[in-house]
C-alpha cells in the first residue's frame, strides 16, 4: 500500500512539475500563457501601451491579499477545467465579476484622474467601463 501511495504521490508531483505548477505562484505573465489559449493575448500585451507598467495580474486580480487569493483560486479552477475539457465559449469572454475586478484595477491607478467621470457608478449594471473605449491598452485578442 505504501508503494501504491508513493507511486500516486510521485505521479502527482511529476504531473505538477510537468504542467509548470510552480509558475502559478508567481505573477510572471508567461505563466498565464502556459496554456496556448492565451498566446494572442500575451503577444499583444507585449506590444501594448501598458506592458511597461502592468502585468496580467495587475489588471486581472484584486490588489489586496485575501480577495486576490480567492480570485486566483476561483479563476484557476475555471481555467483548468475549461482548458482540460475544452468546453468554454469562444472567443473567450470575461465574466461580470472579473470585469468588475478589471475596472477596479483601472481605477487603482487612474482613479484620481477620472474620479469625476466614474464616481459612484462603478458597481452599477450600466456603469461606464474604461475598456469599453480603451479596449486595446492592455492587449488585443
Amino acid at each position: 500500500m505504501a508503494v501504491g501511495l508513493g507511486l500516486l504521490l510521485g505521479l502527482g508531483l511529476f504531473t505538477f512539475i510537468y504542467a509548470e505548477g510552480f509558475s502559478y505562484f508567481t505573477t510572471d505573465p508567461k505563466a498565464c500563457a502556459n496554456c496556448h489559449i492565451m498566446n494572442s493575448e500575451y503577444d499583444s500585451w507585449v506590444k501594448s501601451s501598458h506592458h511597461i507598467v502592468a502585468t496580467c495580474a495587475d489588471c486581472h486580480l484584486p490588489h489586496s491579499l485575501v480577495p486576490k487569493l480567492v480570485a486566483k483560486t476561483v479563476n484557476g479552477y475555471h481555467h483548468s477545467k475549461g482548458f482540460t475539457f475544452q468546453d468554454f465559449h469562444e472567443p473567450i469572454m470575461i465574466k461580470p465579476h472579473n470585469s468588475q475586478i478589471l475596472q477596479e484595477a483601472c481605477l487603482g491607478c487612474h482613479g484620481g484622474l477620472v474620479h469625476d467621470m466614474v464616481a459612484g457608478s462603478t458597481t452599477d449594471a450600466n456603469a461606464v467601463s474604461c475598456v469599453h473605449c480603451h479596449s486595446s491598452v492592455g492587449h488585443g485578442r
Binding site: 500500500m1 501504491g4 507511486l7 500516486l8 505521479l11 502527482g12 510537468y18 496556448h36 489559449i37 488585443g140
Partner: protein, 494 residues
C-alpha cells in the same frame, strides 16, 4: 469489552471486517486518483503538443503548383477553409442559391431595370448573384454570357489560376526576355484568344483550377504577394499618379496593404477586352469620375473613344462597370482606417494553439463575432441592424436611381421615334453614358452600399440627377420635333 463488540453471531472476527473495507476503499481511491492523474497528464501533454509546430512541409510547392490540394497537404487548416467556399452563404441582400446544386437567382429579379440598362449587352441575357470562390471557373463556363456570346481569353485573368500559363506562353514567345516581360507577353497573347480556345489551352497546361493558393502566396515563404499582371500594372499607374515612380507592390507594400492588394487583383473595375489588352483604369485615381475620365480619354487602336457597347435602345456608346469593391472600399471609413479586406472577410481564428486566418472567404455578416466584434464591442444583433440599416437605405436609393434610368431610356426612345437625329440626340446620349456609368458602378459593387455608404449615395445622387437631366432634354427635344412638322406644311401652304 463486549460492549465494544456487540455483534456476536458472525464467524469472522468482528474487528477484522472494517479493516478489509478500509483497505479496499484505499486501494480504490488510489487507483481512481492515479487514473485521473494519468488522464490529466496525457491531456496536458496533448495541449503542449498543440502549441508546437505550426506546419510541416510534406510536399514541395512551387510557383507552378496550381492544384490547391497539393498545398492542402502542408496547410490543411487553410485548405479546409478554402474548400468551404463551396458552401452556400446568405445575407439579406447577397448570396447564392439555398443549395450547392442550384444556381443563384438572376439579379434582374430584384432589380428589373438591369435588363433595360444592359440592352444589347451579354449581361442582359444572364447576370446572376454570386457564389463562393470555389465556383468561379465553373460559373464562368456555364453562364450564357460565354456560351451564347463570344468572349475574350482575358476573362480567365481572374477566373482561373492562370499565371503559370502566362509565363509558359511568354517564354515560348520571347525565350530571352526577362521574366516580368515574359509574363506580360503571355498575358497579352492569352487575352487575345477566344475564351474557349484559352480555356482549352489552360486545361491542357494542367492548371485549370479556380483561384488557388499560389495566386496570393509565395510558395517559399508563404508571404502574401500579387501575381496578376492587371493589378501589377494598375497599381503602378495609380502610384505614378500619386508621385511614386516604379512602384512594385511585392517590394514596396506593407504587410497590411498586401492583405487588401491580393483581393484587389480581381475585385476591381477593369476593361477585359477584346478591343485592347485587359487593364485597370486607375491612371487618374480610384474615384468613379477619375475612372470615367480615364475611359473618356482612352482611344482604341482604331482611334475611337473608349466604350464597352452601343446601347440597343438608344445607340449611346456606354460603359460597363465590373465589380469595383477595391476602389469603393478605398473611399469608405474602413478603408481609410487601414482595415484590410482580409480583416473582415478572412478574420483570424483559433485552431488548436494556432492563430490562422479563415480561408473561407465570405460575407462578414456570416461571421460577425470574428469579423466585426474584434473592434466593435456591441451585441451581434445590434451590429446586424446597423449594417442592414445602411443596406436598406442604399437599396432604396439604388432602386430609385434604376427607376430614373428607365424613365430616361423611355424618353430617349420616344424622342428617337419622333424623328430626332443623331446630332440632336448627341448631348442626351452623352448624359446617358454618364448616368448609366454611375448607376452601374454602384450596382455592380458587391456590398449593397456598405463599403462606402456616403460615397455610393453621392454617386447615386449624381446618377439620378443625370438621368433626369437626360430625360428632360429628351422630352423637350421630342416636344420641339412635334411642333416642327406642324409648322412645316403651314409654311408651304402660304
Amino acid at each position: 469489552m463486549t460492549a465494544e463488540n456487540p455483534s456476536t453471531d458472525g464467524k469472522t472476527p468482528p474487528s477484522r471486517r472494517p479493516k478489509i473495507v478500509l483497505l479496499v476503499a484505499i486501494i480504490g481511491i488510489v487507483a481512481v486518483s492515479t487514473a485521473v492523474l494519468a488522464g490529466l497528464l496525457v491531456n496536458i501533454f496533448q495541449r503542449k503538443q498543440e502549441a508546437k509546430n505550426p506546419y510541416l512541409r510534406f510536399v514541395d510547392v512551387t510557383a507552378d503548383t496550381t492544384d490547391p490540394a497539393e498545398w492542402g497537404k502542408n496547410w490543411p487548416r487553410q485548405y479546409d477553409g478554402y474548400l468551404r467556399t463551396a458552401n452556400p452563404t446568405h445575407t439579406k441582400f447577397g448570396g447564392g442559391a439555398p443549395s450547392e446544386a442550384m444556381m443563384p437567382a438572376e439579379k434582374s429579379e430584384k432589380n428589373p431595370w438591369l435588363t433595360r440598362m444592359f440592352a444589347g449587352y451579354a449581361f442582359a441575357i444572364d447576370y446572376r448573384d454570386r457564389r463562393g470562390h470555389a465556383f468561379m471557373l465553373t460559373d464562368q463556363e456555364s453562364t450564357k454570357r460565354t456560351k451564347e456570346r463570344k468572349q475574350p481569353g482575358s476573362c480567365l485573368h481572374c477566373h482561373a489560376s492562370i499565371i503559370p500559363l502566362y509565363r509558359q506562353t511568354g517564354a515560348e514567345l520571347a525565350p530571352t526576355a526577362p521574366p516580368a516581360e515574359q509574363l506580360q507577353k503571355g498575358f497579352e497573347a492569352i487575352g487575345k484568344l477566344d475564351y474557349w480556345e484559352a480555356n482549352a489551352k489552360l486545361e491542357k497546361s494542367g492548371h485549370k483550377h479556380p483561384v488557388s493558393c499560389v495566386d496570393c502566396h509565395d510558395p517559399k515563404s508563404m508571404q502574401l504577394r500579387v501575381t496578376r499582371p492587371g493589378f501589377i500594372n494598375g497599381i503602378k499607374a495609380l502610384k505614378a499618379k500619386e508621385g511614386i515612380a516604379d512602384y512594385d507592390p511585392n517590394r514596396d507594400a506593407t504587410r497590411q496593404e498586401m492583405r487588401s492588394f491580393v483581393c484587389g487583383q480581381c475585385h476591381v473595375e477593369y476593361y477585359c477586352g477584346p478591343k485592347t489588352t485587359l487593364f485597370f483604369p486607375w491612371m487618374n485615381g480610384l474615384k468613379v469620375e477619375e475612372i470615367e475620365a480615364t475611359y473618356d480619354n482612352f482611344k482604341f487602336d482604331d482611334g475611337h473613344r473608349f466604350y464597352d457597347w452601343k446601347h440597343a435602345e438608344t445607340g449611346a456608346e456606354v460603359l460597363k462597370a465590373q465589380h469595383p469593391e477595391f476602389e469603393v472600399w478605398n473611399q469608405g471609413t474602413h478603408g481609410k482606417a487601414g482595415v484590410a479586406c482580409a480583416d473582415c472577410h478572412m478574420p483570424y481564428m483559433r485552431e488548436g494553439a494556432l492563430k490562422v486566418s479563415d480561408h473561407w472567404v465570405r460575407s462578414p455578416l456570416t461571421n460577425i463575432n470574428r469579423a466585426c466584434q474584434q473592434c466593435h464591442h456591441y451585441p451581434e444583433n445590434e451590429i446586424v441592424k446597423r449594417v442592414e440599416t445602411i443596406q436598406d437605405r442604399h437599396f432604396a436609393l439604388l432602386t430609385r436611381a434604376g427607376g430614373a434610368l428607365v424613365d430616361m431610356l423611355d424618353a430617349i426612345k420616344a424622342a428617337k421615334e419622333a424623328g430626332a437625329t443623331e446630332a440632336q440626340l448627341m448631348p442626351v446620349l452623352e448624359m446617358q453614358r454618364k448616368a448609366q456609368w454611375r448607376l452601374d458602378f454602384v450596382a455592380a459593387e458587391n456590398s449593397m452600399g456598405f463599403h462606402a455608404p456616403q460615397e455610393l449615395a453621392r454617386i447615386l445622387g449624381e446618377s439620378i440627377d443625370m438621368s433626369r437631366q437626360a430625360q428632360l432634354a429628351a422630352v423637350s427635344l421630342k416636344a420641339t420635333l412635334a411642333l416642327a412638322p406642324a409648322a412645316k406644311p403651314a409654311a408651304t401652304a402660304n
